[in-house]
């Protein structure tokens, strides 16, 4: 998944808090048969995604994870599906809270099962960011940064340089110390790495443009935004694309 989730979750920083309630335990759901579940999961998760299909994908991935040989893959893919649902399903808050709690729980299990699986760390970081957004709390951000860095160390190319994009958005948009760990220059470094690692991904250019604009570097911001609009993703999910493009168009209008 293009992790558009990560950006919008970072939009909701709150200044006043530095600690949040730990995610609650989530009761297990009835799962489909493990046999063939991974294939069903992949099928349901295929673009164009809808909330109903992604929820089915999540359940199938969880079921697939019951088989030891595909436990890690099933877990991180289920976490990814719940991250998507939290962000794009348009659910009510209570459902979003459940989905993100489930994403965190599954991603944690994925990390425990396969500590060297970059996707596990990446989706744990993503879900922690979403949790921070929903609860207007920043206690999870240190862990989010840690997990994002671990994912970047293990494989920075996943999700079109997703770990760099995540870290860039995190450092670029979090409030500066003493409130949080924000550091625009660090964010810029990560977003430049994202663009270098996956130059064909338009969202990497958009995120870079966004931070450059915030830092007052408008000429380069415009250039990066043009790149974002120019690039055409063939495998992108329309819901996710619409989400970042809406923000990108707003930024473009503002910079005119």
């Amino acid at each position: 998944m293009r992790d558009r989730a990560l950006r919008s979750c970072l939009l909701l920083w709150v200044i006043v808090c530095s600690c949040a309630t730990p995610p609650p335990a989530v009761p297990p759901l009835p799962l489909p048969q493990a046999e063939g579940a991974m294939t069903f999961g992949e099928s349901f998760y295929r673009s164009p995604r809808t909330p109903e299909r992604v929820r089915k994908a999540a359940l199938n991935y969880e079921a697939a994870a019951q088989r030891p040989e595909q436990a890690a893959e099933g877990l991180w893919k289920a976490a990814r599906a719940y991250v998507w649902l939290t962000q794009f399903a348009g659910s009510k808050r209570a459902q979003q809270e459940q989905d993100v709690a489930r994403a965190i729980a599954l991603a944690r299990r994925a990390v425990a099962t396969a500590p060297k699986q970059a996707n596990a760390h990446y989706y744990l970081a993503a879900s922690l960011g979403l949790f921070s957004q929903l609860h207007s709390a920043m206690s999870q951000l240190e862990e989010m940064a840690r997990e994002g860095k671990r994912a970047a160390e293990l494989d920075p190319r996943i999700d079109h340089a997703g770990p760099y994009r995540l870290l860039g958005s995190l450092y670029g948009q979090a409030p500066d110390p003493p409130i949080s760990l924000g550091d625009e220059e660090k964010g810029l470094d990560y977003l430049r790495k994202a663009v270098t690692t996956a130059p064909d991904n338009p969202e990497n250019h958009f995120r870079l443009a966004e931070l450059l604009a915030a830092m007052g570097q408008k000429a380069e911001a415009k250039h990066q935004l043009e790149q974002a609009f120019f690039l055409n993703e063939t495998d992108a999910d329309p819901t996710e694309t619409l989400a970042w493009q809406t923000q990108a168009k707003r930024l473009w209008e503002k910079m005119k």
Partner: protein
Amino acid sequence: MKSLRSVILPVIAVLLASTASAATAADDPLLFDLIQPGSPGSTEEAAPLMARWADYLSAHLPGHPPITGRYVNTNEQARIVLSQIKPRFAVVTVPYYLEHRSAYNFQPQLATRPGGRTEDRYRLLVSTTNPITTWEKLTGDVAGTLCHTPEAVARLLFQRTASTLPFHCQPTDRLLRAARQVVRGELNGLLVTDEQDTSLMALPEGASLKALHATGPLPPPLVVTLGRPDAVQQSIIQTLLGMKDDPTAHELLTELRTDGFGPVDLNVLTPLQEAFERAGKPR
């Protein structure tokens, strides 16, 4: 954040204005506000935390009345909230308190304890390469979150009105960016609170900054009522005061970044109010 804020704030201002009449017409709703001009985020973004705080207070008041809390971080929002909605109490920064205490009849009731601090201190930082030794010789631009309330800060730090300072006080919500600009010579100074100073000094940039001027001890942000507190407000004050010793409030206080609430030190605040008024008189 700044770009996001500029999109959201006009919407919030409209919403606040439109809810003002409804709120005052309601059956004495219990509203409170956390007013922190220049702090990042938005009312909407902070809503979940403020709701948790409101729920806590409601649960500890007789009859468990519904309470609503709001986070406000611009002067314009604060003006709308205080003049039209009239909260039952507000948490305000000391500069905001000093600038507006007469207009809204602020009565200090409690003091916050940010990071356990019982007092604050503001400092003017400059680059270590800057040869000047006195703030009177500083010109150009000086930045800081404190510049969102420039009049009070000018009077507290320099015993002058903002318009007579030899430099321009430029509001920012990106402290680290401003600190780096000072180090690079793009800004001439940085105004910081004690907590901001401590965090900057722990970063590499801190080695390139020095304090040129500082205030004496100042109170931390205050809990104020608008006028004398009634019985309900007294109950709220007692509840706030008891939070520090309530284990169930510990997490909430951590989120609010205060080690509970304590009495206001009038030995510090009263002379400060007098000094603030004195500094505003024509010389």
